[in-house]
């Protein structure tokens, strides 16, 4: 079994060396602030579309969705669909107007017509919070995934993995800026699509390209029968709250994407709005075909490897895709199996590195451009000064993310991805949409919307079963392992624990039984933005109307766009 590890490490090394070289070359060509923040606005729609796919298809969506599909069947498909359909909101409402009205960051587009430093601060804070939550989820996930892929499980190896991933992402961002990061995304996305394609065709060939046959075999091998092919295994509890939780997740996924800062900044890397539209179309094609392939990969893993074997290797199913690769190549111990396993593991590793680099770039750009240059220095900076601050911010944010991830490495932080989407939908989307389309929108409305959405999403999660794990009708008692019972401080036969990985208490019942805050926090965000606007409407002036008309002209025609 050591041969596949050697090969995996060798492929990891090749990827790291290649991307470092690309980053250094891109860094030499990065001179102005527009180069650093927006890749010189010189990427083609196809390049940017592939890079959007690279930014968006995280390890969570490759390994995670394949794992959920392999273990819980159809419910994994709900995630894929939410992640894909969200792009229509981005395409129709956000991509082109945002490209025309902003410069480097999400806050640019929101504060452009409101001309208020406070709005810029609010949007900057929200950008950084969303990106860091997402980053933490990726880095802690990366530690366990890479440990699994390399077959090492000591605590020290997890810490070193986090540190190494963090150091690489800091290097990509500080040296390569947006140009380097974009090329890393492109390389990763191409590798990921090749890996997914190979596995999909291979799985389908094993079933003579008969989908029904594949589905039947997956249902049989899952041990769950036809229920495996129907919604409800993961979101299966029959009481009202868990159904609402499913709806809450669906809404947050579909509305969050169009307001994720690290995705929005990608629209600035192309020359104009038309190119932004085309790049979203490429992204939709790439992301859509990728999620269709994960469906085959996930069900294929269930059918060929078996849900039980996958669950034994990793309870959350993160190894479903790699186990399937090994099986396709000829099974454990064979040369083909080792090659396929190493290849898919390297693809997953590339995926993790590229996504964390994109997140670090978005948050450090926002810190330098929105908070430092826009507010602390009131715009009295030079391009070079701003970029220097962005690089320092990338190092600081990266170091903070490494420290937090090491601290949180034992926690179940997968919920942070859903939380990041929910905050984006609750705090950012109302401000973006109202700012672009609502004449009467005011800065008070924008600030109220951002903080109302941000705070309500965090409060709902803080009162949810993620933090308070007591058993209730929504969270039925789970069977505890000895280690879990010990950690929770209850006897192993206890029936008072509904979520053994709860962050604060395993036995206190959560005041709000929703794990996904979107259903509450998204309406709160929109209502706060609207209420703030109405309450401050008497302070609007003719200048505000002029500013809105300028924004309308700019966002629809591109006149005066950067």
């Amino acid at each position: 079994m050591t041969d596949h590890k050697t090969l995996t490490v060798a492929l990891f090394t090749v990827f790291i060396v290649a991307t470092l070289a690309i980053t250094v070359v891109a860094g030499r060509r990065t001179r102005s602030a527009a180069d650093f923040y927006a890749g010189g606005r010189s990427f083609s729609p196809l390049q940017n579309g592939v890079a959007i796919g690279g930014d968006y298809m995280s390890a969570a969506s490759f390994l995670g969705i394949a794992g959920i599909l392999a273990l819980s069947g159809y419910d994994g498909f709900l995630y894929s669909i939410g992640f894909l359909v969200a792009w229509i909101v981005a395409l129709l409402l956000v991509a082109e107007p945002l490209r025309n009205s902003g410069r480097f960051t999400m806050a640019d587009a929101i504060s452009e017509r409101l001309r208020s430093p406070q709005v810029r601060v609010a949007a900057g804070i929200s950008t950084i919070v969303v990106s860091i939550f997402y980053l933490l989820a990726q880095m802690v996930g990366a530690a366990s995934v890479i440990s699994l892929l390399l077959g090492v499980s000591s605590d020290a190896s997890r810490i070193w993995t986090i540190v190494a991933v963090g150091a690489l992402m800091i290097f990509y961002v500080t040296v390569g800026g947006m140009k380097g990061t974009t090329w890393v995304q492109i390389v990763k996305a191409v590798l990921l699509m090749i890996g997914a394609c190979v596995m999909t065709v291979w799985v389908l060939a094993k079933f003579d390209f008969d989908i029904s046959h594949l589905l039947g075999a997956a249902a049989d091998q899952s041990g769950k029968g036809d229920g495996f092919l129907q919604p409800g295994l993961k979101y299966g509890a029959t009481d009202g709250w868990s159904r609402l939780d499913l709806i809450s997740l669906g809404i947050a996924l579909v509305l969050g994407t169009a307001a994720l800062p690290h995705i929005l900044v990608r629209f600035y890397t192309v020359p104009d709005a038309k190119a932004a539209r085309k790049s979203v179309n490429w992204a939709i094609g790439i992301i859509g075909s990728f999620y269709l392939m994960t469906l085959v990969i996930g069900f294929g893993a269930a059918a060929l490897v078996g849900s039980k074997a996958i669950k034994t290797a990793d309870p959350s199913g993160n190894t479903a895709a790699t186990r399937l690769a090994e099986h396709l190549g000829g099974g454990p111990g064979s040369n083909g199996g080792a090659v396929m396993l190493a290849f898919i593991a390297a693809v997953a590793f590339a995926t993790i590195l590229a996504v964390v680099a994109g997140l670090t770039l978005a948050s450090s750009s926002s810190f330098a451009h929105d908070l430092y240059a826009g507010v602390f220095r009131r715009g009295r900076t030079t391009d070079a000064g701003e970029v220097r601050v962005a690089k320092i911010a990338a190092i600081v944010i990266g170091a903070v993310a490494i420290a937090l991830s090491v601290f949180a490495r034992e926690l179940n932080v997968a919920f942070l991805v859903a939380l990041a989407f929910a905050i984006a939908a609750s705090a950012n989307l109302p401000a973006i949409v109202f700012s672009l389309f609502w004449r009467r929108f005011t800065k008070t409305g924008a600030i109220a919307g951002v903080f109302g959405g941000l705070i309500s999403a965090i409060v709902v999660v803080a009162l949810s079963p993620i933090v308070w794990g007591g058993a209730s009708s929504t969270k039925p008692a789970v069977t505890l392992t000895a280690a879990q019972a010990d950690k929770c401080g209850v006897p192993a036969a206890s029936t008072s624990v509904g979520n053994a990985t709860a962050l604060v208490s395993c036995t206190k019942v959560a005041p709000i039984p929703l794990e996904n805050p979107g259903l509450i926090s998204i309406p709160v965000g929109f209502v706060c933005a609207a209420a703030g606007t109405w309450l401050s409407s008497r302070r609007r002036t003719d200048e505000d109307d002029v500013a809105f008309e300028e924004l309308e002209v700019r966002s629809l025609t591109g006149v005066g766009a950067h």
Binding site: V85, I247, T557
Partner: protein
């Protein structure tokens, strides 16, 4: 490049005649076409998605119904979401290329000081 340093102020690219452009009948027409397409289509598309999520939550017997072999309604409905996404993206892009882009190109040309109307060069007056 030093002009591009004031992040909080209006961006450097000037909008010389924003008010004039805003009153231009072609701009009004562009805005009308954009809004009449984008808002209803977004609403219909989100309603179609919400219907799917609601059926997954509340109509599991219906979703479990088998259509052909092991392919059930849930799978067909799910693939229908993919189809709707691809279709909507294609329809919008066609609409934008035919109904929006020519008008916005004319307005950009006007703002750049070129003789109005006939110029359809999409880069005229765009971000420099």
């Amino acid at each position: 490049m030093t002009a591009q340093t004031d992040a909080a102020a209006p961006p450097a690219g000037p909008v010389p005649s924003a008010a004039a452009l805003h009153n231009d009948p072609r701009f009004r027409e562009l805005r009308r076409r954009f809004r009449w397409f984008v808002f209803p289509v977004t609403a219909i598309f989100l309603a179609w998605y919400l219907l799917y999520v609601l059926l997954c939550a509340y109509a599991r017997d219906f979703m479990a119904h088998k259509v052909a072999g092991n392919v059930n309604v849930a799978l067909v409905f799910g693939l229908g979401q993919f189809a709707a996404t691809f279709l909507t993206a294609w329809i919008y892009s066609r609409f934008a290329a035919r109904r929006l882009d020519p008008l916005s190109a004319q307005l950009r040309a006007q703002a750049a000081g070129a003789p109005a109307a006939r110029s359809t060069d999409p880069m005229a007056g765009a971000a420099a």
